[in-house]
């Protein structure tokens, strides 16, 4: 068993046909008889006290079935993955323009939106806090009563001051990163239904049905068992649907009206109310010895989490963990602040704090290499952590480490190997070409101190197919296809014999989130555990039916046979036959499997989630061309070299890699949600600019595999890393082309032009 027939193959996505034909229903496509439309009244100010809410006019409107305010929240009026500091419906204060003040359910969508305008809310505006560093001052107005510093982390190892004193090279810079938007195609949307017994089902694309169930139950003051959450499939998430979005609103409205209720956020509402990537200001001071050995890193990160915490604390923690990247860094002083402001909301986003600090660090690394006259790739190779090394946070790198393998592959890729030649052939005299490289490691899973487990179910269905249940939702990343491949190889059947059940709190066991580059590793291990138990059950049934001993039963393709069976004797049973036998005996052929993540040998007291044990590794290389007259930057080619441990589905890895490159390129060159005095200035895709297909470079993905023994078939995660080092690879390429260092992204044409001018 466990021969790799499906694992490692370029299997077509199991949902491909339904997606391309449009047959697949996302939650925002669902309709139910008698369904109402819900709408959310958002705040009129970025920061204000609520003096009065009068809903009487709205309630009297035709077609309006319910209007709810904070008074109608039966349970805890708050949610939040770490601390429930975000009100479901604001009672006395609003802290950003996306704050929800009231809900309406009406017979039409238009009617619901009109009713919002008939709700009178009296506000007393408060001063807006929009600069995170100012927000940290005692004298600043407070977004939350206990102060604006939500979280502070400080880690020190070695003797940083001595290292800086003795270093041959010290570089110190300040970096600024933008408020990137997830830009998923499906906005935060869903439907809730309720049955006669008051059981509620919330259909809403998200990243963790069981935590949603808990947060909904808490707000409704209801037994979680009475609430089912279905969160697969989601039309994109990228971290932006990890926190509660519209689930509680839906459940509240269904509970009040007794009818199905649907909410679909408009794009503008999604941009204003939804999650973003933390803008960060990063001060980084890095030292190296004359021979190119890295000596020390001093880092100070200030992250703008906006009005509520959500995962802001863990994001800053992970920024600290990733701030020394793949390098041996014996002396570190790392400090991070997660700060409340009235600037929207920031939380989980693919990369989770690494994107910002890796941009800073990989720029520092290039600067140091250049100062020492060393090759940039060799400098990285020299300082990279190897298996067995102690990482910056003090834990030992015992799991598989892929940096060297990805750097080796990078050194051979065409745009790196031929860089001088490619550089010398710009498409016009006023254009300059450059090649940049960057690398990172990326923590998989939740880290030390957080419960991190997986569970799976396998059931033999009457026709001989297997239903495999894993709760980690399909958010477009393709995990259900990878699960089916791993299940097929674990059971000796084909992918077509697997029916995946995903993201459903009633029909799957809790396997945690589809976040943190964890779902393939977690779900895969749980599937293997369940498959082993399933095989025992099948062997039992078959042994009895064939009159053989258990030990004589062997698994082949699509069924079992009796070992050492005399030729000619029909002593084989297909899974279909076993299913029939089981059915005849009234036996339910179902197995459960579970898995608990291994963690690092050492945690950091007070900072849960740090550090990680298993990391994915990736090196990315970019070839850019800079128009020196206008500052425009074009990424011509990119090479992406991920180490996913084992590529369960190489086609899936390539899709992740390509999407990640374009996402990281948008971050490098164009994306930023501009908020001024608490007001979003880029509320739609006409002003929030993301790369289009025509902007995407030619992308080559080279997969290197450093198998992770604890992973299913050797796999670890890869979903996040793919969008991280490409950003500094591009900005380093801009430097290679022009001599200008980019420390403020996005590197828009203006910024690049101004930097060129200053440099000249």
């Amino acid at each position: 068993m466990d021969e790799s027939r499906w694992v490692g193959a370029r299997v077509a996505r199991i949902d491909a046909e339904d997606k391309v034909t449009g047959r697949l229903k996302f939650m925002s496509d669902l309709s139910f008889p008698d369904m109402l439309w819900g709408a959310v009244l958002r705040s009129a100010y970025p920061h204000a006290l609520i003096k009065k809410i009068d809903t009487s006019k709205a309630e009297a409107m035709d077609g309006v079935v319910a209007v709810l305010t904070h008074r109608d929240v039966p349970g805890l009026n708050g949610f939040g993955i770490v601390v429930p500091d975000q009100p479901v419906l604001c009672a006395d204060k609003v802290r950003y323009m996306g704050d929800a003040v009231a809900l309406v359910a009406a017979t039409t969508k238009e009617g619901a939106r009109e009713a919002l305008q008939a709700i009178d809310v009296e506000y007393e505006p408060l001063p807006v806090v929009d600069d995170p560093e100012e927000a940290m001052l005692e004298s600043s107005p407070r977004v939350h009563a206990d102060g604006n510093i939500h979280h502070h982390i400080k880690v020190e190892r070695g003797d940083v001051d001595a290292a800086f004193r003795d270093a041959a090279v010290v570089v110190e810079n300040t970096y600024y990163t933008p408020r990137q938007m997830h830009a998923f195609m499906e906005t935060e949307s869903g439907v809730a239904t309720i049955d006669e017994d008051g059981n509620i089902t919330v259909w809403c694309g998200s990243q963790h049905p069981f935590r949603d169930q808990l947060q909904i139950a808490r707000a409704l003051g209801m037994n979680p068992r009475k609430i089912q959450v279905v969160s697969t499939p989601a039309g994109g998430a990228f971290g932006g649907k990890d926190e509660i979005t519209v689930q509680i609103y839906l459940a509240l409205l269904a509970l009040r009206t007794g009818r199905p209720v649907k909410i679909v956020l408009s794009r503008e509402e999604s941009v204003v109310a939804g999650m973003k990537r933390h803008p960060m200001k990063i001060r980084m001071k890095t030292a190296a010895a004359a021979d190119g050995t890295l000596l020390a890193n001093e880092v100070r990160v200030v992250g703008d989490t906006g009005a509520y915490a959500s995962l802001g604390g863990p994001v800053v923690n992970l920024a600290i963990e990733h701030s020394c990247g793949v390098y041996r860094m014996p002396n570190v002083r790392l400090e991070g602040f997660c700060v409340y402001t009235n600037n929207g909301l920031a939380g989980a986003f693919r990369g989770f704090g690494a994107n910002q600090v890796v941009f800073a660090l990989e720029t520092q690394i290039d600067m140091i290499a250049e100062r020492l006259g060393m090759d940039k790739l060799e400098f990285r190779r020299k300082n990279a952590l190897r298996q067995g090394d102690v990482a910056a946070l003090g834990h030992t790198m015992t799991a598989s480490v892929g940096t060297i393998a990805t750097l080796d592959a990078a050194s051979r890729c065409e745009i790196w190997a031929r860089r001088e030649e490619l550089k010398a052939m710009p498409s016009a005299p006023h254009k300059k070409r450059g090649i940049g490289i960057a690398t990172e490691l990326h923590g998989c899973g939740l880290g030390v101190g957080l419960p991190d487990y997986g569970a799976a179910t396998i059931e033999l269905l009457p026709g001989g197919r297997f239903a495999v249940g894993v709760s980690c939702p399909e958010i477009g990343q393709g995990n259900t296809t990878a699960f089916a491949q791993m299940a097929a190889d674990s059971l000796g059947c084909s992918v077509g014999d697997i029916v995946m059940v995903s993201g459903d709190s009633r029909h799957t066991l809790d396997s945690g989130t589809s976040t943190a580059s964890r779902s393939v590793y977690t779900g895969g291990n749980a599937i293997r555990s369940a498959a082993a138990r399933m095989r025992e059950i099948l062997a039992d049934v078959a042994a009895e039916a064939l009159g053989a001993a258990r030990e004589e039963i062997a698994f082949g393709r699509g069924g079992v046979e009796v070992r050492s069976c005399p030729a000619g004797a029909a002593r084989r049973l297909s899974y279909r036959e076993i299913a029939r036998i089981g059915e005849g005996k009234g036996r339910h052929l179902k197995a459960e499997g579970d898995f608990i993540w291994p963690v690092a040998d050492r945690g950091l007291e007070g900072y849960f989630g740090l550090p990680h044990l298993i990391y994915s590794y990736i090196t990315q290389v970019a070839l850019v061309e800079v128009d020196t007259l206008t500052g425009e930057v074009e990424v011509l080619r990119a090479v992406s070299i991920p180490d996913p441990g084992r590529a369960i589905n190489p086609a899936g890895i390539e899709a992740q890699s390509e999407g990640g490159v374009v996402m990281g390129m948008g971050y490098a060159l164009m994306e930023d949600t501009v908020i001024e005095h608490g007001i979003t200035k880029t509320p739609n895709f006409s002003t929030y600019i993301i790369p289009t297909a025509l902007d995407a470079p030619e992308i080559e993905t080279i997969i290197v595999e450093e198998p992770e023994p604890s992973g299913p078939f050797g796999a670890k995660g890869i979903g996040e890393a793919v969008c991280v080092p490409i950003t500094p690879a591009i900005t380093n390429a801009i430097h290679d082309a022009t001599g200008v260092w980019i420390t403020h992204i996005p590197a828009t044409a203006e910024r690049v032009y101004m930097a060129l001018k200053e440099h000249a």
Binding site: Q117, A428, T630, E632, M670, L694, D695, A749, E750
Partner: protein, 294 residues
């Protein structure tokens, strides 16, 4: 208080349309491809503003569609889409820079719906066709039930998003003299990305030269950076009569940038826009001269 949904009328003739438009002056809005109108309606709806009471669909009025040519004059009906213009052999020969401008608009979907009439009458400073039409010395025909007036494209505009059209007037067509084979032209656009990019800056250029290579006529119009579309004659004059060399082209390009600053004043964005306008103007002039400096 809540935005009403506008009524939708589809007149069969110009007279009918014009009558209706005049009668409902402030309350009615022409809709062609709708790619500007619908965005504006939605935006206004969200801001709690009033919608026009009526949308007047002019697609059935005869004579508004297509590209034609007659004794050296090229006419384009107001309802002709960007896609049609970009593909039109007549335009590609007699006004290739207009084909370039239309091909740079939005995305395939937008080009398939958006019309040249809508692009002009929306009067956005960033509209891609306007600078191109300006250097072709295009005239536009505005008609109502009383009659017709033909004016120069640059006289259509009285301010950003404001035209001199009177209630009841419909833009029927635009026309210009086909460029002679001795003419070179170019349209260059600077956007924030490669597609679906509203011009941050653009420049349209037409240059005609005699056998000796001397410039006999030059037309230069920057786009998206002037309060109202216009040619920059002071820059054009710097080229006329010369066999253009680097110095002459640089001087003309610099003059366009200076003219922009004179007309708009110095703003926070000037530090970037001045050199950028200069760069793309220089590029457009060279391309019109047949030298690709992409």
């Amino acid at each position: 208080m809540s935005p009403r949904k506008p009524g939708y009328v589809v007149p069969e003739t110009l007279a009918e349309a014009s009558e209706f438009l005049r009668e409902h002056a402030e309350d009615a809005r022409i809709i062609a491809g709708g790619t500007d109108v619908l965005v504006q309606l939605r935006r206004r709806g969200r801001a709690g503003g009033e919608h026009p009471r009526w949308l007047v669909d002019i697609s059935r009025i005869p004579g508004l569609a297509g590209v034609s040519t007659d004794s050296g004059t090229i006419s384009i009906g107001a309802m002709t889409t960007h896609e049609e213009i970009a593909r039109s052999p007549i335009i590609r020969k007699g006004g290739p820079l207009l084909a370039e401008a239309c091909a740079s608009v939005g995305s395939p979907q937008i080009r398939a719906r958006g019309t040249i009439g809508g692009n002009i009458m929306n009067a956005s400073p960033a509209a891609d066709t306007i600078a191109a039409l300006a250097v072709l010395s295009t005239r536009v025909r505005l008609s109502d039930r009383m009659g017709t007036r033909d004016i120069l494209i640059t006289d259509v505009f009285v301010g950003p998003y404001k035209t001199s059209a009177q209630p009841g007037e419909v833009l029927m067509e635009v026309y210009f003299d086909a460029l002679a084979p001795t003419c070179g032209s170019a349209f260059v656009k600077l956007g924030r990305r490669e597609a679906l990019a509203i011009a941050r800056l653009s420049c349209a250029v037409v240059i005609e030269r005699d056998d000796a290579g001397r410039v006999t006529r030059a037309a230069i119009a920057p786009g998206a950076c002037l309060p109202m579309p216009a040619r920059v004659e002071s820059a054009e004059e710097m080229l006329v009569g010369k066999v253009p060399d680097e110095a002459a082209v640089d001087a003309a390009a610099r003059e366009v940038a200076e003219e922009m600053v004179r007309r708009t004043g110095v703003r926070w964005s000037t530090d970037y826009k001045r050199p950028a306008v200069e760069a793309i103007t220089r590029r457009a002039i060279w391309r019109a001269l047949g030298v690709n400096v992409e």
